[in-house]
């Protein structure tokens, strides 16, 4: 996030407002840095936890994709099973 350039919200003669706007943006930038990819470096996982954990960005993304993939596989399994089993016909 580029904080050096003046925001379009700041106009001439409104330096104090510019400072307020920049202070807000810096505060949110700090929150983003604390939760962002740079924070992943502080966690040192090994093995499968390196790719599937709920702390790093990559780990969380992989857990989400794995959950969706599992749901898709379960749905696919039941669909194919119902196709294989023929319907009971009246005799």
């Amino acid at each position: 996030m580029d904080l050096d350039h003046a925001s379009p919200l700041c106009g001439a003669g409104m330096e104090s407002d510019c400072l307020l706007v920049r202070a807000h943006r810096e505060a949110f930038a700090l929150i983003e840095i604390m939760a962002g990819p740079e924070a992943d470096a502080q966690f040192h996982f090994t093995g499968i936890k390196k790719y599937f954990n709920s702390y790093t960005l990559t780990g969380r993304m992989n857990c989400v994709l794995a959950t969706y993939g599992s749901i898709a596989l379960i749905v696919l399994y039941f669909k194919l099973r119902s196709k294989k089993t023929p319907a009971v016909k009246a005799t």
């Binding site: 925001s7 919200l9 857990c63």
Partner: protein, 226 residues
């Protein structure tokens, strides 16, 4: 009192032609544009108000999110003016129609979410799992977060519809009760009339607050995705 309590929520027609388009376009006439540096009092007041709201709302967004400023300011002006005009007697309020509010909420929410998935795919997907979740709870929480994401536009639309509709209905009912009580007990009618005045003041506030809440939530969804 009208025999049909919901008569004011039926979309108005004239000679079989719908008037909704005219009603939806009407608030734009109340916000004239000007290419002068120093404007008249009305335009100056509107510009001051718009600048106040846009500064407060857009300051939390990134420069990329601030490109939505025109959209969000138009939204708050439209919903606010429509809600306030709806408080005039015998008028129709378009924001009481769920179809209209869904038509506003879904594209804006979808735009914010798709922007997030396009620009920050990893972070957008990781958003479905809160940081620090215990391992056994991961699948359940992913499903819950997915459901809460898809509920957002519905909640946005229903919140606006319910608030405005409920307010209009209450005014209608209490107004009818005041009229009915006039011939029965004047003191009770007076108390009911005072309640009606307070309710009308509340509805003015609700009209503006709901416009602000709708726009603020859209800007928050945008902030999460930019």
């Amino acid at each position: 009192m009208n025999e049909n309590l919901f008569a004011s929520f039926i979309t108005p027609m004239m000679f079989g032609l719908p008037l909704v388009t005219l009603i939806v376009l009407f608030p734009s006439l109340l916000f004239p544009t000007s290419n002068r540096l120093v404007n008249n009092r009305l335009i100056s007041l509107q510009q001051w108000m718009l600048q106040l709201v846009s500064k407060q709302m857009m300051s939390i967004l990134t420069p990329k999110g601030q490109t939505w400023a025109l959209m969000l300011m138009s939204l708050i002006l439209f919903i606010g003016s429509t809600n306030l005009l709806g408080l005039l007697p015998h008028s129709f309020t378009p924001t009481t129609q769920l179809s209209m509010n869904l038509g506003m909420a879904i594209p804006l929410w979808a735009g914010a979410v798709i922007t997030g998935f396009r620009n920050k795919t990893k972070a957008s997907l990781a958003h479905f799992l809160p940081q620090g979740t215990p391992t056994p709870l991961i699948p359940m929480l992913v499903i819950i977060e997915t459901i809460s994401l898809f509920i957002q536009p519905v909640a946005l639309a229903v919140r606006l519809t319910a608030n405005i509709t409920a307010g209009h209905l209450l005014i209608h009912l209490i107004g009818g009760a005041t009229l009915a009580l006039m011939s029965i007990n004047t003191t009770t009618a007076l108390i009911t009339f005072i309640i009606l005045i307070l309710l009308t003041v509340l509805e003015f506030a609700v009209a503006m607050i709901q416009a602000y809440v709708f726009t603020l939530l859209v800007s928050l969804y945008l902030h999460d995705n930019t």
